[in-house]
Symmetry: C2
Subunit: 81 residues, 2 copies
Protein backbone atom coordinates (compact mmCIF):
# COMPACT_ATOMS: atom_id res chain seq x y z
CA UNK A 1 0.00 0.00 0.00
CA UNK A 2 1.26 3.44 -0.89
CA UNK A 3 0.84 6.62 1.15
CA UNK A 4 1.41 10.09 -0.24
CA UNK A 5 1.98 12.83 2.29
CA UNK A 6 2.06 16.58 1.68
CA UNK A 7 3.57 18.70 4.43
CA UNK A 8 3.04 22.44 4.02
CA UNK A 9 3.32 25.50 6.23
CA UNK A 10 0.16 26.56 7.99
CA UNK A 11 -1.61 29.60 6.60
CA UNK A 12 0.06 32.71 8.01
CA UNK A 13 3.44 31.10 8.61
CA UNK A 14 6.25 32.81 6.69
CA UNK A 15 7.62 30.67 3.87
CA UNK A 16 11.09 32.05 3.01
CA UNK A 17 11.83 29.24 0.56
CA UNK A 18 8.65 29.98 -1.38
CA UNK A 19 9.52 33.67 -1.41
CA UNK A 20 13.00 32.93 -2.71
CA UNK A 21 11.54 30.81 -5.52
CA UNK A 22 9.16 33.62 -6.47
CA UNK A 23 12.00 36.15 -6.58
CA UNK A 24 14.14 33.79 -8.66
CA UNK A 25 11.26 33.19 -11.09
CA UNK A 26 10.76 36.93 -11.49
CA UNK A 27 14.50 37.36 -12.13
CA UNK A 28 14.22 34.75 -14.91
CA UNK A 29 11.41 36.75 -16.51
CA UNK A 30 8.44 34.77 -15.25
CA UNK A 31 5.94 37.49 -14.40
CA UNK A 32 2.43 36.87 -13.21
CA UNK A 33 3.37 34.61 -10.33
CA UNK A 34 1.47 35.99 -7.39
CA UNK A 35 2.52 33.59 -4.72
CA UNK A 36 4.69 30.52 -4.21
CA UNK A 37 4.48 28.08 -1.32
CA UNK A 38 6.97 25.29 -0.98
CA UNK A 39 6.38 22.13 0.99
CA UNK A 40 7.56 18.57 1.30
CA UNK A 41 6.19 15.57 -0.55
CA UNK A 42 6.81 12.14 0.93
CA UNK A 43 5.91 8.79 -0.61
CA UNK A 44 5.82 5.76 1.67
CA UNK A 45 5.49 2.13 0.69
CA UNK A 46 3.78 0.27 3.51
CA UNK A 47 3.36 -3.41 4.24
CA UNK A 48 -0.05 -2.72 5.82
CA UNK A 49 -2.89 -3.77 3.53
CA UNK A 50 -5.83 -2.24 5.43
CA UNK A 51 -6.38 1.38 4.26
CA UNK A 52 -7.84 2.55 7.59
CA UNK A 53 -4.95 1.18 9.60
CA UNK A 54 -2.44 2.45 7.06
CA UNK A 55 -3.89 5.95 7.39
CA UNK A 56 -3.76 5.77 11.17
CA UNK A 57 -0.12 4.68 11.05
CA UNK A 58 0.84 7.46 8.69
CA UNK A 59 -1.04 10.00 10.85
CA UNK A 60 1.16 8.95 13.76
CA UNK A 61 4.28 9.20 11.61
CA UNK A 62 3.29 12.73 10.60
CA UNK A 63 2.71 13.82 14.17
CA UNK A 64 5.89 12.25 15.48
CA UNK A 65 8.36 12.85 12.69
CA UNK A 66 7.28 14.02 9.26
CA UNK A 67 5.62 17.33 10.20
CA UNK A 68 6.29 19.98 12.78
CA UNK A 69 2.65 20.48 13.74
CA UNK A 70 3.35 23.81 15.44
CA UNK A 71 3.92 25.46 12.07
CA UNK A 72 3.12 22.78 9.50
CA UNK A 73 0.03 20.94 8.39
CA UNK A 74 -0.14 17.61 6.55
CA UNK A 75 -2.43 15.82 4.12
CA UNK A 76 -2.43 12.04 3.68
CA UNK A 77 -3.47 10.15 0.57
CA UNK A 78 -3.70 6.37 0.76
CA UNK A 79 -3.48 4.60 -2.61
CA UNK A 80 -4.07 0.90 -3.29
CA UNK A 81 -0.99 1.03 -5.55
Amino acid sequence: MKAKVHVTFKEGVLDPQGKAVRTALAALGFDGVNRVRQGKYIELELEESDPARARENVENMCRQLLANTVIETYAIDIAEQ
Copy 2:
Protein backbone atom coordinates in the same frame (compact mmCIF):
# COMPACT_ATOMS: atom_id res chain seq x y z
CA MET B 1 -5.12 29.89 -11.52
CA LYS B 2 -3.24 27.51 -9.27
CA ALA B 3 -0.46 25.12 -10.26
CA LYS B 4 0.73 22.26 -8.12
CA VAL B 5 4.15 20.88 -8.91
CA HIS B 6 5.72 17.70 -7.57
CA VAL B 7 9.46 17.35 -8.02
CA THR B 8 10.86 13.90 -7.25
CA PHE B 9 14.07 12.04 -7.91
CA LYS B 10 14.14 9.92 -11.03
CA GLU B 11 13.84 6.17 -10.52
CA GLY B 12 17.29 4.81 -9.73
CA VAL B 13 18.66 8.03 -8.24
CA LEU B 14 19.76 7.64 -4.63
CA ASP B 15 17.47 9.47 -2.18
CA PRO B 16 19.46 9.93 1.05
CA GLN B 17 16.74 12.08 2.65
CA GLY B 18 14.15 9.37 2.07
CA LYS B 19 16.51 6.79 3.49
CA ALA B 20 17.11 8.90 6.59
CA VAL B 21 13.35 9.26 7.11
CA ARG B 22 12.91 5.49 6.82
CA THR B 23 15.66 4.86 9.37
CA ALA B 24 14.17 7.44 11.75
CA LEU B 25 10.69 5.89 11.40
CA ALA B 26 12.12 2.45 12.20
CA ALA B 27 13.89 3.89 15.26
CA LEU B 28 10.53 5.27 16.42
CA GLY B 29 9.00 1.80 16.15
CA PHE B 30 7.24 2.16 12.81
CA ASP B 31 7.90 -1.17 11.16
CA GLY B 32 6.50 -2.23 7.83
CA VAL B 33 7.76 0.80 5.91
CA ASN B 34 9.45 -0.68 2.87
CA ARG B 35 10.53 2.46 1.13
CA VAL B 36 10.43 6.23 1.53
CA ARG B 37 10.99 8.77 -1.22
CA GLN B 38 11.07 12.47 -0.43
CA GLY B 39 10.44 15.19 -2.92
CA LYS B 40 9.41 18.81 -3.18
CA TYR B 41 5.90 20.14 -3.47
CA ILE B 42 5.44 23.63 -4.88
CA GLU B 43 2.19 25.59 -5.15
CA LEU B 44 2.09 28.55 -7.50
CA GLU B 45 -0.62 31.15 -7.86
CA LEU B 46 -0.61 32.42 -11.42
CA GLU B 47 -2.28 35.40 -13.07
CA GLU B 48 -2.65 33.41 -16.30
CA SER B 49 -6.25 32.28 -16.82
CA ASP B 50 -5.72 29.94 -19.78
CA PRO B 51 -4.92 26.40 -18.49
CA ALA B 52 -2.85 25.42 -21.55
CA ARG B 53 -0.70 28.53 -21.38
CA ALA B 54 -0.40 28.19 -17.60
CA ARG B 55 0.90 24.63 -18.00
CA GLU B 56 3.38 25.71 -20.65
CA ASN B 57 4.67 28.47 -18.37
CA VAL B 58 5.04 26.14 -15.42
CA GLU B 59 6.82 23.58 -17.62
CA ASN B 60 9.37 26.24 -18.46
CA MET B 61 9.72 27.17 -14.78
CA CYS B 62 10.36 23.51 -13.93
CA ARG B 63 12.99 23.12 -16.60
CA GLN B 64 14.75 26.38 -15.76
CA LEU B 65 14.51 26.53 -11.98
CA LEU B 66 12.24 24.22 -10.02
CA ALA B 67 13.69 20.85 -11.03
CA ASN B 68 17.16 19.60 -11.83
CA THR B 69 16.14 17.54 -14.82
CA VAL B 70 19.36 15.54 -14.79
CA ILE B 71 18.27 13.70 -11.66
CA GLU B 72 14.74 14.92 -10.98
CA THR B 73 11.40 14.55 -12.67
CA TYR B 74 8.35 16.80 -12.26
CA ALA B 75 4.58 16.54 -12.47
CA ILE B 76 2.32 19.54 -13.03
CA ASP B 77 -1.29 19.85 -11.96
CA ILE B 78 -3.26 22.89 -13.09
CA ALA B 79 -6.33 23.71 -10.98
CA GLU B 80 -9.03 26.26 -11.76
CA GLN B 81 -8.92 27.29 -8.08
